[in-house]
């Protein structure tokens, strides 16, 4: 990174770290970039690192999990109705039919393996949350920087647009949109779960950008008045150069932090939509959909417990990691 890094690196807050590290290592004191300093702080934040480990684990599970469960015989779609009591529809045996074959027990009625469904559901939840976050971040960053850097009527226009989007009844809109689109599904070339996933990513991503957009705009507003930007401009740098070489590198930190905090809220939103039945269609498992199925069987807590726990752990891990990341980049906010 360029100028600003050196500026902040030489500032007081960075010095103690360098000194501390330097003492033990008997090495010459050397300047560190903001990224290196943040990483050092993050490494020392045990809670955030635990969150990061869980997040990594979840990503691995989402990607390779379906293959593993299939190989081990935890298929999320296979019925095991021979293991269901035909009069109460509850799984036979204690704790919702938990056993070595079905570690999390079975669903009532059809007897599908809950472990397999949780693992398979991770993929959908994380995919939608990540891609929707990417959509939000791209739109929010571009519009936030444009509004903050250019100001004037451009800023007014974009800021009002953000207000409109923030006031939008997103949940109601999402329900209506999914309903309308599925009516015309036969005429679309893009069908089935692909269509639903695409639609959810669009809805969640497209309507959540103002949150990150506002933060980026604020940061840009303060950055553009800084000396290094003035210096670049006085040397004849064009706006594009300033945005890409001077502003964006300094915006990386807030973008990263708010993306990690946006992901868990998107996971919850996807779960809410699946719970309301407008998400992915059955039998594809989703955590929200599993919770929704469990409502009817509240006397069998294992059915609601595991999807609830999965959502809880995922959201908590992302939030802890996101918080740690923010502290690492900007300890004054602590």
């Amino acid at each position: 990174m360029t100028v600003p890094m050196d500026v902040s690196g030489s500032q007081t807050e960075a010095a103690p770290e360098a000194v501390l590290e330097g003492v033990g290592g008997a090495k010459a004191i050397q300047g560190r970039s903001l990224g290196q300093i943040a990483w050092m702080r993050l490494k020392r934040d045990k809670v955030a690192m635990a969150g990061a480990c869980v997040v990594l684990f979840l990503i691995v599970v989402a990607i390779v999990g379906p293959f593993i469960t299939k190989a081990l015989g935890f298929d999320p779609l296979t019925f095991h109705q021979d293991l269901i009591d035909q009069s109460t529809l509850a799984p036979k045996g204690a704790f919702g039919g938990m056993s070595a074959q079905h570690p999390f027990g079975l669903e009532p009625v059809n007897g599908r393996d809950i472990f397999g469904r949780i693992v398979a559901g991770a993929w959908v939840s994380l995919l939608i949350a990540f891609l929707a976050t990417v959509v939000s971040v791209i739109i929010g960053t571009v519009l936030g920087v444009v509004a903050g850097y250019f100001g004037g009527w451009v800023d007014t226009l974009i800021s009002r647009a953000m207000d409109v989007f923030l006031a939008f009844p997103l949940l109601v809109f999402a329900i209506a949109l999914v309903g309308v689109v599925s009516q015309f599904e036969s005429e679309l070339s893009f069908k089935g779960d692909g269509l639903r996933i695409g639609l959810l990513i669009f809805v969640i991503g497209f309507f959540n950008w103002p949150y990150i957009g506002r933060i980026i705009r604020g940061q840009t507003l303060s950055l553009r008045e800084r000396e290094f930007v003035d210096a670049a401009r006085s040397l004849g740098a064009r706006p594009l150069y300033v945005v890409f070489r001077e502003l964006l590198p300094n915006l990386i930190a807030p973008i990263l932090v708010y993306s990690t905090l946006l992901i868990p809220s998107n996971i919850l939103f996807e779960a809410a939509l699946s719970f309301l039945g407008v998400g992915i269609r059955p039998p594809t498992p989703t955590w929200g959909g599993m919770l929704s199925d469990a409502v009817r069987f509240y006397t069998m807590p294992h059915f609601a417990l595991f999807p609830g726990l999965a959502i809880f752990i995922t959201v908590l891990a992302f939030n802890l990691f996101g918080d740690g990341l923010r502290d690492a980049f900007d300890p004054r906010a602590r």
Partner: protein
């Protein structure tokens, strides 16, 4: 009878709320009538099904006490002109009387229509196009004014106004020869309706039909023939205080959403009414009780009857069934309802009968049964259309398989005959709000995948399910809805009441709204017309059986489950039984210890 959109819509609305459309009965096929009264006399010993199958639990003639009902929702209306729920008709008989009524008797005997306000059943003339009823003597409203045939006629006239009373049944609207442009007594004030109804004197009422209809006595037991005094009619507000013609009257008013109570109507003369024992002194009703809470209160005795009569909530089953003491308080009646899946012939490859047969053979009906709640709260595996409660029912098993699990070899053979040996892909529609239909679709997806038929699940909102989606022929064709999860309950227990809306191809409208999604068989339409003209009950019932078989041969309906419900007898009830017409406890008979 020509079915009109309002009729179908009302029936669909009743279905949509998951309740049996209406009570009904039909000409005496009583599998259990002999045993009626046998359980009587013995001490009240709790036992599973003790009030079911023609038995009376704890028979009694002791009067007095308070009977407590509760409802997890609220009535669509307490007004006889504006209600279409089976339970509302069952309960309504406590405060209204109609020209005819289903006999207050257990089991199949309860399917019989007997005179109520009328001295005798209707007398047909003009080949069944004119029906005449004569009222009994000594009939009075709760205020002591005598009930005349004009009050009955007025009740029928006001029920014609579907803008004021959108919920009620519309059979009489369609069938009677109403004057042109008639809009009911409010909008067509003073109109001459003598082409439809005549009251030559205070005791005689004559109905004129557009076409012969042999089963008019069934229509005369429906709520619109309850008498309404014109002077007391307040239109849409009449539901707050219906003027009683039965053994109980409202204590004060009963506005929507409020609990209410019924007390004895001193002006009701038991001598005029052989059908109502009227045992309790007082009847209390709570409305909008949360469904799971309601079950718990029923279990601990706080209330005695769940008035909706649709059975325990799924969560309560795991509490009641494993406990012998609680299970002994349960009854498991069969309903006049079939849960099934339509196979529209307009969607290739289902235009080929062999592909349809592949579905019939390939489906695992035990999975279907489990989806609806298993053998107790779900029902029995169905092999054809007519449920066992309906006279004329016979078991027609054209696509047999070991234990109902499906016959994979025959399914594959059918697929080969259809020219699709490797199977094919199609869609299955179901109502998104109904978890049991979702479970059904998932189950069929599993079982048909065994033979290579790949289903994609398509949930649609239940409010528009028939109007815009599965019941809309162009939509079905365009979106390739090869299978549509469906269900039908009868308005009354005979072949017409059960089958006509389900299998008559003339009820299908291109604009949507019909619950007949797949049956378009010209022979069947002819047989229906033939059955409507047949006045001999036995011959008519044989014709409905023939229609049932014909539909099964064409493989356009995959029958799933003949529905049953699991009811819990409240504590301290006497004279408890289930009649085939109500398919729940007969509320008129109940007493308390």
């Amino acid at each position: 009878m020509k079915k009109k959109s309002t009729l179908a819509a009302a029936a669909v609305a009743a279905l949509a709320l998951g309740l049996s459309a209406c009570g009904g009965g039909g000409g005496g096929g009583g599998q259990a009538s002999q045993s009626a009264g046998q359980g009587a006399g013995a001490a009240a010993q709790d036992a599973f099904d003790a009030a079911n199958g023609g038995k009376i639990f704890n028979p009694s003639t002791k009067k007095g006490g308070t009977l407590k009902f509760a409802n997890s929702g609220d009535w669509d209306s307490l007004d006889p002109a504006n209600t279409y729920y089976g339970y509302a008709w069952n309960f309504g008989r406590l405060y209204w009387r109609t020209l005819t009524v289903f006999k207050t008797a257990p089991g199949g005997e309860g399917n019989k229509v007997v005179p109520d306000l009328a001295e005798d059943l209707g007398k047909p003339s003009d080949n069944g196009k004119t029906w005449t009823y004569t009222l009994r003597s000594g009939l009075k409203f709760e205020d002591g004014t005598p009930i005349t045939s004009k009050d009955v006629a007025y009740g029928v006239e006001r029920s014609f106004d579907k803008e004021t009373y959108p919920n009620g049944p519309t059979y009489l609207n369609e069938l009677l020869a109403w004057p042109k442009d008639y809009k009911g007594p409010y909008k067509s004030k003073g109109a001459d309706v003598s082409s439809a109804i005549e009251t030559p004197d205070d005791k005689t009422i004559v109905f004129h039909l557009k076409q012969p209809f042999a089963g008019f006595d069934y229509l005369a037991q429906m709520s619109p023939t309850a008498p309404v005094p014109q002077a007391k009619d307040t239109g849409a507000k009449y539901r707050d205080h219906v003027v009683s013609s039965g053994p109980y009257k409202f204590e004060g008013d009963a506005p929507a959403g409020k609990n209410f109570a019924l007390v004895r109507n001193e002006n009701w003369d038991p001598a005029t009414d052989p059908n109502r024992p009227a045992l309790p002194d007082r009847i209390e009703v709570q409305v909008n009780v949360e469904a799971n809470d309601l079950d718990n209160r029923l279990i601990n005795g706080d209330i005695q009857v769940d008035v909706a009569g649709t059975g325990l909530q799924p969560a309560s089953l795991s509490k009641v069934l494993p406990d012998p003491a609680l299970k002994a308080r349960a009854d498991n009646p069969t309903l006049s309802r079939l849960w099934y899946t339509s196979i529209p012939t307009t969607v290739p490859p289902f235009d080929n009968i062999d592909c349809r047969k592949a579905v019939m053979y390939g489906a695992d009906l035990t999975g279907y049964q489990t989806a609806y709640g298993g053998p107790l709260s779900g029902g029995d595996i169905a092999t054809n259309l007519l449920p066992p409660t309906i006279p004329g029912h016979q078991k027609i098993d054209l696509y047999p398989s070991e234990g109902g699990k499906g016959d994979i070899a025959k399914a594959k053979a059918a697929l080969a005959a259809c020219g699709q040996p490797n199977g094919f892909e199609t869609n299955i529609a179901y109502r998104a709000e109904r978890p049991k239909e979702k479970a059904t679709a998932e189950s069929l997806q599993q079982s048909l995948a065994r033979v290579g038929i790949k289903l994609t699940l398509q949930p649609y909102p239940q409010g528009e399910y028939f109007a815009s989606f599965a019941g809309n022929p162009p939509f079905v064709k365009k979106n390739k809805i090869g299978l549509a999860v469906n269900g039908w309950g009868s308005d009354w227990n005979d072949g017409y009441g059960f089958l006509q809306q389900m299998v008559d191809s003339r009820v299908i409208r291109e604009t949507g709204g019909s619950s007949n999604v797949s049956v378009r068989i010209p022979d069947v339409d002819k047989l229906i017309d033939q059955a409507n003209m047949e006045t001999d009950t036995a011959k008519r019932e044989a014709l409905w059986g023939q229609i049932d078989k014909r539909v099964m041969e064409e493989a356009v309906i995959l029958p799933g489950v003949w529905a049953k419900s699991l009811l819990l007898r409240g504590k301290g009830l006497t004279n408890v039984f289930i009649s085939d017409s109500q398919q729940m406890y007969d509320y008129v008979a109940l007493g308390v210890q």
